[in-house]
């Protein structure tokens, strides 16, 4: 047993329930104060706001206790709203627990979002220094690492250009590069690997591995179970604020996947108003419907068939060039298919009030199985307005089983669907040269 890096002792965080908007206006507070002076007085007299009743509050995290040894890399998994982010926020001291306590030994560096504090008007160079200072690096340290950071991000030529002129990929790479050179004793990471292209993601995972091998303690939260599996030997599983599993990563992941029974039905409107989400929330997804448009199969999407996704957005501000997008992820959280109005160059404004948006995929290249549908909305600069990850789990069904037995084995088969044919070639082929077509094969598609 090594020394401890983190110890949680019945850490709990209670939030008021969403029945009341989080941002109250002064008028509401005043009318409420006028309407119920007694209750407020009692509350003031009691333990500062703790006298609230049970039913309008909920526990984002309840009595969570665990220990992390020095140098250990711990994965934190759980569905949206399970309390993962709350846990990280408590450990990063961004918000205070309602009860219980935690103790963290050493310097804590937390990356709850890459590019925190990046300012679009400032140059890449300025932002490296600013972001570094925000993350707690000293100026001299940043200077000594500056070249490494810029090289890691691959933005040497643009380092003196304001970052608002960066492509979103460059922006994210630079942001992660600064963060990756943070050298705290305890590193708390949330979802930062979900940025950039595949090559850069590899680089990030490599860097995380280095950090872990360096003997630093890492707390790693991700929807990407593959990444968790690769990086963490031990993981914990949170469910509705409670710690339900703590052990070897593959075992915890199995338990997590086994608990998925919440696929949303196709062809029906699914209310998203209460779904857990992130973003500035000046416009929100209120509902979504997905389906194949084919009543015969209960509207269920099927391999090679169409998929239509309709979303409803309620906006309190108008956006000129909104970016509305979706991502289909496998059950491990790996992104498979994504699309957005931005990627297509669609520049339809988002009006104040309610509007509907639609994505149509002509042929869905997915095998049967559960998939996560993520929805996101960003403003014209790409700043996140609303993001539901995932908004729902959808099931792709087998429409016309062909051949014998279950022709799709989720354990061994690929996840992508594609039309193909197979059969024995009549005249045996040994050397196929260039463009010579295969002679007539026995078609048995």
């Amino acid at each position: 047993m090594t020394a401890l890096a983190i110890r949680l002792d019945q850490l709990s965080k209670q939030y008021r329930f969403g029945a009341r908007p989080r941002r109250r206006t002064l008028r509401e507070a005043l009318t409420e104060a006028a309407a119920s002076p007694w209750r407020n007085l009692r509350r003031l007299a009691g333990a500062a706001g703790r006298g609230t009743t049970e039913d309008d509050t909920f526990w984002a995290l309840r009595d969570v206790s665990f220990e992390v040894g020095h140098g250990e890399v711990l994965g934190v998994i759980g569905r949206n709203g399970a309390g993962k982010s709350t846990l990280l926020k408590l450990l990063s001291r961004i918000t205070a627990p309602t009860s219980g306590r935690a103790e963290v030994w050493g310097r804590v560096g937390s990356l709850l979002e890459v590019g925190t504090g990046f300012h679009p008007e400032l140059t890449g160079r300025d932002n490296v220094y600013l972001n570094g200072a925000i993350l707690g690096m000293e100026r001299g340290y940043i200077t000594s690492r500056f070249d490494a950071i810029v090289e890691f991000a691959g933005v040497e030529q643009f380092i003196d250009t304001p970052v608002k002129r960066y492509s979103s990929g460059m922006y994210l790479r630079l942001a992660f590069a600064v963060a990756a050179h943070l050298e705290p004793d305890v590193l708390i990471v949330d979802e930062v690997l979900a940025v950039g292209d595949a090559e850069f993601q590899q680089k990030c995972i490599g860097r995380m591995n280095e950090v872990a091998c360096d003997g630093r303690t890492v707390l790693f939260v991700s929807h990407n179970l593959g990444a968790v599996q690769r990086l963490c030997t031990r993981s914990i599983l949170l469910e509705k604020g409670n710690l339900v599993a703590d052990g070897e990563t593959s075992e915890v992941i199995r338990q997590y996947l086994a608990s998925h029974d919440t696929e949303a039905p196709a062809g029906r409107w699914i209310d998203l108003t209460a779904a857990p989400r992130t973003g500035s929330a000046s416009a929100r997804f209120t509902g979504v419907q997905y389906g194949s448009g084919d009543q015969l199969v209960d509207f269920s999407p099927h391999p090679g068939g169409p998929l239509e996704i309709v979303v409803g957005i309620d906006a309190s501000i108008a956006l000129n060039r909104p970016r509305v997008g979706f991502t289909l992820r496998d059950r491990y959280g790996g992104p498979l298919i994504s699309g957005s109005t931005y990627a297509l160059g669609v520049a339809t404004p988002l009006p104040i009030g309610y509007s509907s948006w639609r994505f149509v995929l002509e042929t869905l290249p997915l095998r049967p199985g559960p998939y996560q549908l993520e929805l996101w909305l960003a403003d014209s600069m790409g700043a996140s307005v609303d993001r539901l990850q995932p908004a729902l789990w959808m099931e792709v069904f087998d429409r016309q089983p062909r051949g014998f037995g279950p022709h799709y084995n989720p354990r061994h088969d690929g996840i992508l669907y594609c039309e193909y044919s197979a059969g024995r070639v009549e005249a045996a082929v040994r050397h196929r040269t260039g463009g010579e077509p295969a002679s007539a094969a026995t078609q048995s598609r």
């Binding site: 047993m1 090594t2 020394a3 401890l4 850490l11 939030y15 989080r22 941002r23 109250r24 206006t25 002064l26 008028r27 507070a29 333990a47 500062a48 020095h70 926020k89 408590l90 450990l91 990063s92 001291r93 961004i94 918000t95 205070a96 627990p97 309602t98 009860s99 219980g100 306590r101 935690a102 103790e103 963290v104 030994w105 050493g106 310097r107 804590v108 937390s110 709850l112 979002e113 925190t116 504090g117 300012h119 008007e121 400032l122 300025d126 220094y129 600013l130 200072a133 925000i134 993350l135 707690g136 690096m137 000293e138 100026r139 304001p162 004793d185 003997g215």
Partner: protein
């Protein structure tokens, strides 16, 4: 960062809570880092000046960012800091000096107005910046830990740059119109300016903490600032107030600032030490109450932002 400082106040607890792990074989890294205790917020807020000081680097970075961003992509750049008080002076000179014929202690009204506007502009932009600091930096507040008091302090320092520019304009105008600045200005203006900074920070703490939960504050602030300006002797001399009201005027800290600034620079009146003393006490009270209120609301900032 602050590991030593944040750790220091927890060090006592660390000894008792470390338990069996302290004896664990951990030879490679013998100096055990200090620990930070995360627990429910104390009932009574406390201001950790040492921690705040350890974050001065971040504070200066924020100041630098604000200044740099303010004039990014403007054609006139820093000349806005010159134009704003000059144009305001022109307007006030025409409206109050010419039309309303407000007395100006025997100096040209334009100099009189600008000598009030320069410290006032410092105060109002510092106050505005501090009041909006949390809302403008919501992304930082909800994503990173640092003592939140850094946020309202930064704009107080940042506004100082514009003050210096405005002050230079004032000196030029004085020399042009034949008003000589007194030598005591050098000695007396810094404390007067500090009084303005303390007032702006105190009120700014109140506004910032309220603003992040009640966005109404954002709409009320400009009105408050304007009302405050007209109730302070910026465009009129203090002597214009009825005599029996004058002792009470000092309870408005900006009366001490404006009167003190004019007296120090123009030498038209003896330094109003009595007024400044009363104003300083009031400003101090506002700052302490504001900082404590800010600290007591701090635990919910990330939750309500």
């Amino acid at each position: 960062m602050s590991e030593d400082l944040t750790g220091r106040h927890a060090a006592g607890l660390e000894q008792s809570t470390r338990g069996p792990s302290a004896a664990a074989p951990d030879g490679a890294r013998s100096p055990r880092p200090a620990s930070v205790i995360i627990g429910p917020e104390r009932r009574w807020p406390r201001i950790d000046l040492a921690e705040l000081w350890s974050y001065r680097g971040l504070m200066l970075f924020l100041v630098w960012r604000d200044i740099k961003v303010r004039y990014a992509q403007t054609v006139l750049g820093a000349s806005w800091a010159i134009l704003q008080p000059v144009l305001a002076t022109v307007v006030f000179t025409v409206v109050f000096g010419r039309f309303a014929r407000i007395p100006s202690d025997g100096i040209p009204y334009s100099v009189f107005a600008l000598s009030g506007l320069v410290p006032w502009t410092y105060f109002s932009s510092a106050l505005n910046g501090a009041g909006n600091s949390l809302v403008a930096n919501t992304n930082l507040v909800t994503k990173v830990y640092f003592p939140r008091l850094v946020m309202p302090v930064a704009p107080i320092l940042g506004a100082f740059v514009d003050f210096l520019i405005g002050f230079a304009v004032l000196l030029v105008m004085m020399l042009a119109l034949g008003v000589t600045p007194t030598a005591r200005a050098l000695l007396f203006i810094p404390p007067v300016l500090a009084l303005a900074a303390v007032t702006a920070l105190g009120v700014g703490c109140w506004l910032a903490a309220l603003n992040i939960q009640y966005r109404d504050v954002k709409h009320a602030t400009p009105f408050l600032v304007q009302l405050w300006m007209y109730s302070s002797p910026v465009v009129y001399p203090l002597s214009l107030l009825p005599h029996r009201l004058q002792p009470y005027a000092a309870f408005n800290p900006m009366v001490g600032v404006i009167a003190g600034f004019r007296a120090a620079l123009l030498g038209t009146a003896p330094m109003p030490w009595g007024v400044i003393a009363v104003s300083s006490c009031v400003a101090g009270a506002i700052l302490v109450s504001g900082a404590l209120f800010f600290r007591s609301r701090e635990r919910v900032f990330a939750d309500v932002a």
